[in-house]
Symmetry: C3
Subunit: 310 residues, 3 copies
Amino acid sequence: MAIAKKDLLSLSDLSVDEIQEIFAVAREMKTVIAGEDKKHPVLRGRSVINLFYENSTRTRSSFEIAGKYLGADVVNISASSSSVTKGESLKDTAKTIDRLAPDVIIMRHGASGAHEVLAQNVKARVINAGDGAHQHPTQALLDMFTITEKKGSLEGLKIAIVGDILHSRVARSDVWGFRALGADVTLCAPPTLMPSHAADLGVTVTYDMNEAVKDADVIVMLRIQLERQKAGMFPSVREYAAFYCLTEERLALAKPDCLVMHPGPINRGIEISGEIADGVQSVIDEQVENGLAVRMALLSMMGGYQNDVN
Amino acid sequence: MAIAKKDLLSLSDLSVDEIQEIFAVAREMKTVIAGEDKKHPVLRGRSVINLFYENSTRTRSSFEIAGKYLGADVVNISASSSSVTKGESLKDTAKTIDRLAPDVIIMRHGASGAHEVLAQNVKARVINAGDGAHQHPTQALLDMFTITEKKGSLEGLKIAIVGDILHSRVARSDVWGFRALGADVTLCAPPTLMPSHAADLGVTVTYDMNEAVKDADVIVMLRIQLERQKAGMFPSVREYAAFYCLTEERLALAKPDCLVMHPGPINRGIEISGEIADGVQSVIDEQVENGLAVRMALLSMMGGYQNDVN
Amino acid sequence: MAIAKKDLLSLSDLSVDEIQEIFAVAREMKTVIAGEDKKHPVLRGRSVINLFYENSTRTRSSFEIAGKYLGADVVNISASSSSVTKGESLKDTAKTIDRLAPDVIIMRHGASGAHEVLAQNVKARVINAGDGAHQHPTQALLDMFTITEKKGSLEGLKIAIVGDILHSRVARSDVWGFRALGADVTLCAPPTLMPSHAADLGVTVTYDMNEAVKDADVIVMLRIQLERQKAGMFPSVREYAAFYCLTEERLALAKPDCLVMHPGPINRGIEISGEIADGVQSVIDEQVENGLAVRMALLSMMGGYQNDVN
């Protein structure tokens, strides 16, 4: 099954059927990753460009390895070494890169809307690897895939997302995806880190973490970016942790088999206790492996587009 | 047909026959690039090192992808991470890198003469990817190839090169190449950005852009480096643009089918209007694609040398 | 023959038999490197991550090329672009990277002990590519291999190591390796750059270079890090060179066929005269080539572990 839209800019570019198909392919990819020979060269002769305007070890490496395991040629272009430092417009960068004949361009960029500019100016398929505080669709896919693997499906699950909702592209993409697959989502943050339109998203909104995690099937903890504190978003790390750190006591309020997730990198003792991060309910490390599997699935399903269509 | 000289430091290292052969191979490479399987592994088992002492997304990525499409192992070494920060001499760096057994070393370096030092100290073949304000032979090759594709040949064409001639390695290489293939070249710049020996190059020199572009078959616009302004090379960007920006009015003075070229990245509204850059006479994007094809051609013709000769 | 221990953190992780086997495989790898087709894809389908927390052109490039010639997928992660800038602990970085399913992780890190943390938290095999002033096992292996190639064996040779012993991980690893293969080692440095426990290492200690190099079969010169001077470790570069530079006069005190070695990059005229570095007794360039061969040998012997064992 092919993916219908040329680009994956937002999770809403995918149908629920396409998401399920990505999961089916990702399950095959997990056996490839775990096997003796990880070379699965379905993208031999195809090329992938990783265009990163922001640092990201996890996401960049995950896409790079995904492309290489699939046999594609992968080229990294980072902002610091790119023509952006010469003042070139994104549109011109897009047109230039497209002429190097990539099949897929994966971009991380700090500005919402940058991916649309890229997508409109290239023949290559574009995958959004994170755009400001807007969308991070492959993170949501790997979160949904992880929950599906562990729980069978998301239908009817209570999922709490806790932390800096306001600045989190992970939260935005997760909300869309979790709801599309039938989950009930609760958002929890201090008032200063909760978007004003949160209630319009079809989710439950609370500022009380005990309420958020009560009877939850899944808890997704978000990373606190410590630089937010300087901006006065919360009074102190200690106070934040007192109210919003996932501790043993709070986790005990959730269902006994509640999954604990985090997109990483984690701040131990701030948004999550080290014991829980390393504990039996945590699937944080597995999220990384599933991220690789989901990206291999996506690339294998999208990497052949350009020539098939043109 | 092999390339006789070990190294490509300056365009004058190539004979006209060799240049024409590079173009013939580049045409084949364009069909590879446009095809379903871009892997054309004639350099399997060979290796290429990209040694960049200056940032360059376009040129570095173009060579990297060229090497990878040809099946070579490509390794990037950038100045910031190299031993130059430890004060090692270029000669010692050269000897070290050569012992990693590369077949081709591609170097960009700010100093004229650096490539000679490298070439004399390595068994690998050296390709100059830009050296200060001196030479940029692969840019000239792609420019000549682009004109040849569009016009059949350069014989008797009037080609205007406009902008910061003084600091442009593109201009230096283009002048040699365009004249070698029979074109008449006109150089146009403000007096402060025109080299004093320009008239000795066998070209027409003018400070009047209208005169330069009149009846031109090809106009090559050069990038204005805005940092030059600080050095007092021109009074203001606005004044520069008033006299030397390629506008619709000025382009109308050229032949109706005049090609518009630019090595990129462009400053829209400074040296070229956005409409012209995106217009039907512009071949700026195609230059990027042709750059990839020319570099694949060069690498495929030079990459087997070391073992064939030694 | 497999290598018994999972990780190569210190040279003492290897038995003498394993070291000799590495040399035997390295000799085969030298013919691969010198041959027409350097692709020797015994690691096809395996992957290698280069995790560098400190710059190192030589070592990083050497491992990268070694992995690529062997057909592995190689991914570079440098500290500046990694999550360390986000404050992630090394343990969490380790667990994350391991989930990308690498077979081997090669790490350079400034802290002694960092490699143990990494090794304990990953299924991948870990190779230490340099840790602070502690160990650099592959440098010692390539030094030992180079001497073995030239002298047949190290048994009974007099080897002088001269320079900044105190801060040198090369010296620490070399001492262990040279002694394990039967050589007599003399360490020579200014008193401020000699570790206080040097005499306990089973070596001869001297502050007089003439004494150190007298009748030597091999002289290993170490790099002076010029920033040490600021710390008051030696009075001036000129004075250091007067007492500890390897000059023609000093080299004449050694055996006539004495080898001159240096891990690079060299400071000409400070720790070694340019004439000697380029002279017939110098094997400095060959050390680089042998480093590639030894790393290919190691990777080929360690790259298959994960799947064979698990």
